[in-house]
Amino acid sequence: MTEWSVQRLAQLVFEIVRDQLVAVGDDFTPQSDLIEAGLDSIGVTQLMLALEERTGVWVDEGLLTPELLSSSETLAACVHEQLAQS
């Protein structure tokens, strides 16, 4: 079983986006929409690569939808599902 909970993954996604990928204000939270925050396609790929580095699981960008990128939490749930299957 994975050591990563959805909550921990959401925090990880949130921190990578906030600290490395997008210039965001204080109002950016794990519930904030990632696309609206300014994450572009290169940023999404870089995010998935950073997540792969930390968790060991690659989530194919082809699986991603606007709904899954609507917050750090929704993306974390997707990554968690992939982790569980790996």
Partner: protein
């Protein structure tokens, strides 16, 4: 269409007006220097400049005098818009000498006579393509020019082209500039808000690590050069630059189909790979018709490097390049082609080639521009690439009007060097896709342009051409 001059006067800046504060010099970015090298090449070999253009097709209500006044007011506040580009004391990094800007002429707004039956939904004015072949003088601060074609004195609408020496803005910067100029007109922003000389984010890595990235990028380019491209124009040649410009605007339903196909075939995150594949196939039709071996297709894709989520970085270019290479036998299968482009994109990002491109361009800023251009061409047997391509998504999405006139349509006409001599640029304005083709006149015959047009349409909407 006649492009005779109707009014070309530049009103003097008000007495006592001085350029406002701000830095005395603004360094060019690495990608600026890349563009500057090709501007120099075009100047020497083709007698013109490397000029990009943004075109607005406007409804009634546009007042050219308002544009002229605003441009001049903003230029006085934002000295970079007419600052000479030089190396300080002849050595070191090239910079905008904003400290000398006051001595330079203001940007010119030229009004052209229109065809009696012309209008902002008809063919583009010839004056716009002519401006792309004009000589801009970066060393003397001549960086920006506006051309205006009013129809029936503006009662039937107006066509407007903003042309600039490519270092002044990149595509995103030019759109932000237009949007900010309109906000200034509406009184919601001040002219000083335009004075954003945002530095690219400071590199987080040590110099040695950046050097390693730059070397990896060079190795990647050398790898591409092992199977060099051949453009339809052939390698660098001494011919007068004579760029032509055409735009095709898809209908709303056709655009919806194209967007749906892009999403289905390339994914919602990377629609540009669908449009790139369409562009490769359009050029391939011409290569095949001529019986010409393209070598491999090598195409750079600009990557926007602005800090995401901020409104700014108007001036200078803030881009890196992702390079793609495909063989001719891959082109016939559209889905397979897109899959391979996706694979290459992923590998390039994973391999740090976005950052590597930045590092390489930063390092070579110190080189003489001629050497810079020569190095780039030498790796690809005299070519830069097979052709240029750009996809810029929604065009000025925040603005419905410009200086009080409705924006009926708008798009970019990117700078194109006479070799490779062809560029397809695509963008959306509202619910309609614009396909702009900029090409050197002697590179493509009329029937070849039509072949490409049909190929692009067929691939976009999924019909046989």
């Amino acid at each position: 269409m006649s492009s005779s001059l109707r009014a070309d006067a530049v009103p003097p800046v008000a007495a006592g007006a001085v350029t406002s504060g701000g830095p005395r010099i603004v360094p060019l970015t690495g990608s600026d220097c890349f563009l500057r090298a090709f501007d120099d090449e075009v100047r020497r070999y083709n007698g013109a400049s490397h000029v990009s253009q943004l075109i607005l097709r406007l409804g009634p209500g546009f007042d050219v005098e308002v544009l002229r006044r605003l441009v001049h007011e903003v230029t006085v506040v934002v000295p970079l818009m007419r600052a000479p580009i030089r190396r300080r004391y002849g050595v070191g990094l090239p910079v905008y000498r904003t400290d000398l800007a006051d001595r330079m002429p203001l940007p010119v707004v030229t009004v052209h006579a229109s065809e009696p039956d012309g209008g902002p939904t008809g063919p583009l004015p010839d004056a716009f393509a002519a401006r792309m072949n004009d000589r801009f003088l970066g060393r003397r601060g001549r960086l920006l020019h506006f051309d205006v074609v009013p129809y029936a004195d503006g009662a039937r609408g107006t066509d407007l082209a903003m042309s600039w020496l490519h270092m002044l803005f990149d595509g995103t910067g030019s759109e932000t500039f237009i949007a900010q100029l309109d906000r200034y007109f509406q009184g919601t922003r001040g002219a000083a808000d335009l004075m954003t000389y945002d530095r690219p984010p400071a590199p987080r890595e040590q110099m040695s690590a950046r050097g390693q990235r730059a070397r990896a990028w060079r190795a990647h380019i050398a790898h591409l050069g092992a199977s060099p491209p051949r453009s339809l124009a052939g390698p660098l040649r001494s011919v007068p630059q004579d760029l032509r410009l055409r735009v095709e605007t898809l209908g709303v339903e056709e655009t919806a189909r194209a967007i749906e196909r892009a999403k289905a075939l390339a994914g919602f995150l990377t629609p540009m790979l669908f449009y790139l594949a369409v562009t490769i196939r359009a050029h391939d039709r011409v290569f095949r018709a001529r019986g010409l071996d393209p070598g491999s297709y090598v195409v750079p894709l600009p990557v926007n490097l602005r800090p995401k989520g901020v409104d700014g970085a108007i001036f200078r270019s803030h881009v890196s390049l992702l390079w793609f290479q495909v063989q001719q036998e891959q082109v016939s299968d559209l889905e397979g082609l897109i899959a391979d482009l996706k694979r290459q994109r992923h590998a390039s990002i994973k391999g740090g080639l976005v950052e590597g491109g930045v590092a390489a361009m930063e390092f070579v800023r110190f080189l003489p521009k001629r050497l810079y251009a020569r190095m780039t061409r030498r790796g690809m047997a005299g070519e830069l690439c097979s052709f240029f391509f750009a996809y810029t998504d929604q065009f000025v999405p925040a603005a419905q009007s410009f200086l009080g006139a409705e924006i009926l349509n708008g798009f970019h006409a990117p700078a194109v060097t006479p070799s490779p001599g062809s560029c397809l640029a695509m963008s959306l304005r509202g619910a309609r896709l614009n396909v702009t083709h900029v090409y050197q006149s002697d590179v493509l015959a009329e029937e070849e342009i039509e072949t490409m047009r049909r190929s692009v349409r067929a691939d976009l909407i999924g019909e046989a051409s």
